[in-house]
Symmetry: C2
């Protein structure tokens, strides 16, 4: 291993994180490629045990007023930089969890800083509009040069939202209104008195008796509508009232894919048959199917492009919308800007939802019929946030100028190859390695998963899990081969530490 | 009327809005009290018809990518100032709608600008944390000096959210978990296998068969759970699946209150009896009652402090939570920081939700049992936004330093008195004037309401409606007597314009 990749222990000279410090690490400095890496140390910096004394103190204070039982670590964002997250004790961890996959181009990214300091951002922050009523004169410009510049192929409209949950829920609302409008005979047909009255009582026919079909182990958010489509874990759902909506089996592929081609194809065919059966026969008919390109929260479950093309064909055939939830998969991490770009669809999805790395949220669509037939049907006070839309525009700029999607595809291939080697070297420790050709969107199962995640901090790595046993890698788009090397070194240390 | 209050027509010398300009308006300049007013003109500035040519052009462009059918006006926020909203054509309207009651201390407020330009804000913007997993080391400090500094009496905890809808929905989730936990026998009792399994199928017992009781004509948001409690208008609800939850009649008071004391008391007693009946007998038992201190979206419907004290007593008696939705009423506009401060409750509400003027959102609570018994039950990726929490802190600072709540109480009294005079002068035009003693949170009904709102622009005023026939006044907290005079002048012009 190169010297620069050694974990720097307590007392290291690398106490300050100013960019200048990296000059003391010539082997690393030589490899620093872009300004978004300029502040990075050459390797994780560990000054205290985890959590350190300052973190403990602050955490106790926070717990008095804010539930901290799900806290992973207290962070000091002013000292976090590039791929590294800092804590209040001066430790710096290589961060391949990235705020649950939501940091796109590194901590304290200079391009984002510039956008955040711009007069445009300041105005957007302090003069927050009710976008549906009082959009700013440059809102079209902000959308066209930002959110819509990266609109998925075939989709040219956007409804802006706040986060993944309400992006999905407003997409569901659009689907319900679209379907009922079609059933009524088109946008010009007025609501009946019975519909108007019953809607106020939460009863049919006004409150439609339709459903959204989702997949087992899928995750789409935790508000009431989105949670009704979320099927990840009971702890997400228990005690919360839910709609009687159907769920189909997500194909459970076996790895390595090459060795299980026939079984996997059958699992996918069975899943599609189940979807079709539910569309045709579920007692509350689905008007849309919602699916993640890669089930993320639910354990990094993949399916083939053929499966998704089949799903598109099925939904078309039955007049049901296809909503692709790209909240976690979108914005580059899979080596394409949108994960569904991997599918080579003939017809685009009807709706694509986004959030997380976009730092804003919403849903894209193309069919004008997905604009409800009257104003104020799809509406709320803020309807998104121009400040965050301006930030997404800067993120897009940073991604495009630095070819970060292409780079992520390459570094993902590099990382996957090295992980295959590790998996061969340590049988049982990197089970069901998955995400080949999907950028850095990679995961594997480990029998001691929870311990694995905790232990990673000891070796300078911040890493997350998903599902029951998966370790999920969610590096940022500025993750390069040298970061991959550090990560691989850390992973090897973790899996060889069980016996010690 | 003083000269300064005359609407400045096209060709006026007041083309620029730089603070220096007000020196040319000596009568107004003398009355400028604080820096948040420094950029204000002495009166609305009208340079073009509404909408002007630039606005029309930009609106057409925007409509290609964003639904603009609910657009009231295109705004130029860079030129908006204090109580005035600018449009791209150089017009400046006195804004008593304030982004659907969500601008607290004026456009381009200097204190907010300072906060928005601070390094702390920039870091919060570009390093957005997943607050549940990776809160920043100073998150406790930000909460304690901001959101929690103004926590309602008796409540000392907060769950942060993004907007009013998810603030309410996460509050509902807390209520469901709290109730089921109590029914189970406390936080230490584990979920049963049947609960865990059925929750994944959206079925009882895991998905609880409980409800939230709300009031007719109430508004609590438009996502699936919140929309199930919203009972404002069919256009908000139609075609969207809803939970079978109960609604009680909100007392429909008659105005002036002094003249209808007996009837109104009976209406309130009847409403409380209906609530009690629904709590005891509704086939899906309510675990919480949600209520707005003043029903805002639904038409500015008031009830007396006695009614709310009765509601608190009833909910206590039956072990049902009281959730007070202060999304629109909170943060000062009623002449108290929280509208429920007017009630003199013996026991505080269990939960108070907030958003809008706070520019961030969430729910306050006090009872530790409202923290669910396990981590990750109340969780999502972002769980609010530190950038917006920092902004709320600056808003609180601005409010406190300038006594804006007390000032709003006074200017509200002044305005109400003048409106009573107008109502007497123009019978039928200011019907059911309401909001006496409630700061500037004032409304009245007008038989030509929609036309009223449109016509207001001609006289330099931006004003909103609510319910079927109400004109609602929602000035900012920096609205002073001279602004009230301008508003009153405009209102008089509107109601005397019908005949012309």
């Amino acid at each position: 291993m190169p010297a620069a990749s050694a974990v720097l222990r307590r007392g290291s000279a690398l106490r300050s994180l100013a960019p200048a410090v990296s000059r003391h690490l010539p082997r690393t400095a030589a490899r620093l490629s872009s300004s978004y890496h300029a502040g990075e140390p050459g390797a994780p910096v560990l000054k205290t045990d985890f959590p350190g004394p300052k973190a403990k103190e602050e955490l106790a204070r926070l717990h008095n007023v804010f539930d901290t039982r799900s806290t992973n670590m207290l962070a000091d964002y002013t000292k976090s930089t590039g791929n590294y997250i800092a804590d209040p004790d001066g430790n710096l961890y290589l961060d391949v969890y990235a705020q649950i996959a939501s940091i796109p181009v590194g901590y304290n990214n200079p391009t984002l800083r510039k956008a955040a300091e711009s007069p445009e951002m300041v105005s957007a922050l302090i003069n927050r509009p009710a976008l549906g009523n009082f959009p700013s004169h440059d809102w079209a410009e902000i959308l066209e040069t930002g959110i819509l510049k990266v609109a998925p192929k075939g989709l040219n409209q956007v409804f802006t939202a706040m986060a993944g949950s309400d992006a999905n829920e407003t997409a569901y609302k659009a689907a319900f209104m679209w379907r009922r409008q079609k059933e009524r005979g088109g946008p010009a047909v007025e609501f009946t008195e019975a519909e108007l009255e019953s809607s106020m009582n939460n009863q049919a026919p006004g409150a439609s008796q339709l459903s959204i079909l989702s997949f087992k182990t899928g995750f789409h958010g935790r508000l009431f509508g989105s949670l009704s489509t979320t099927r990840s874990k009971p702890i997400h759902k228990i005690d919360i009232p839910a709609f009687d909506w159907p769920q189909a089996t997500f194909p459970l592929l076996k790895y390595p894919l090459e060795e299980h081609a026939e079984e996997n194809a059958k699992a996918e065919a069975d899943a599609l048959a189940e979807v079709e059966d539910l569309i045709k026969n579920y007692h509350i008919p689905p008007c849309a199917v919602v699916v993640e390109p890669i089930q993320s929260e639910g354990g990094d479950n993949h399916a083939s492009p053929e499966f998704f093309r089949g799903l598109r064909a099925l939904t078309k055939k039955h007049g049901v919308l296809l909503i692709v939830d790209e909240v976690q998969t979108g914005v580059g991490a899979t080596g394409k800007f949108w994960a569904h770009d991997h599918w080579n669809l003939q017809d685009p999805p009807d709706i694509v939802t986004f959030s997380k790395k976009a730092q804003t949220a919403g849903y894209y669509f193309g069919d004008p019929a997905l604009r409800p037939n009257k104003p104020y049907r799809q509406f709320n006070t803020w309807m998104g946030d121009p400040a965050r839309a301006i930030l997404f525009r800067a993120i897009i700029q940073e991604i495009e100028q630095n070819n970060l999607v292409e780079k992520t595809a390459k570094v993902g291939d590099y990382l996957f190859g090295k992980l295959e080697a590790l998996a061969a070297k340590y049988p049982g420790q990197f089970e069901n390695l998955r995400g080949k050709g999907q950028g850095t969107f990679i995961a594997f199962d480990n029998p001691h998963r929870d311990q694995f995640l905790l232990k990673a901090k000891k070796f300078g790595i911040n890493i997350g899990g998903s599902g029951a046993s998966a370790v999920r890698l969610r590096p940022m788009l500025i993750f390069e081969e040298r970061h991959a090397d550090l990560l691989l070194e850390g992973l090897e240390k973790i899996v060889t530490s069980w016996e010690k």
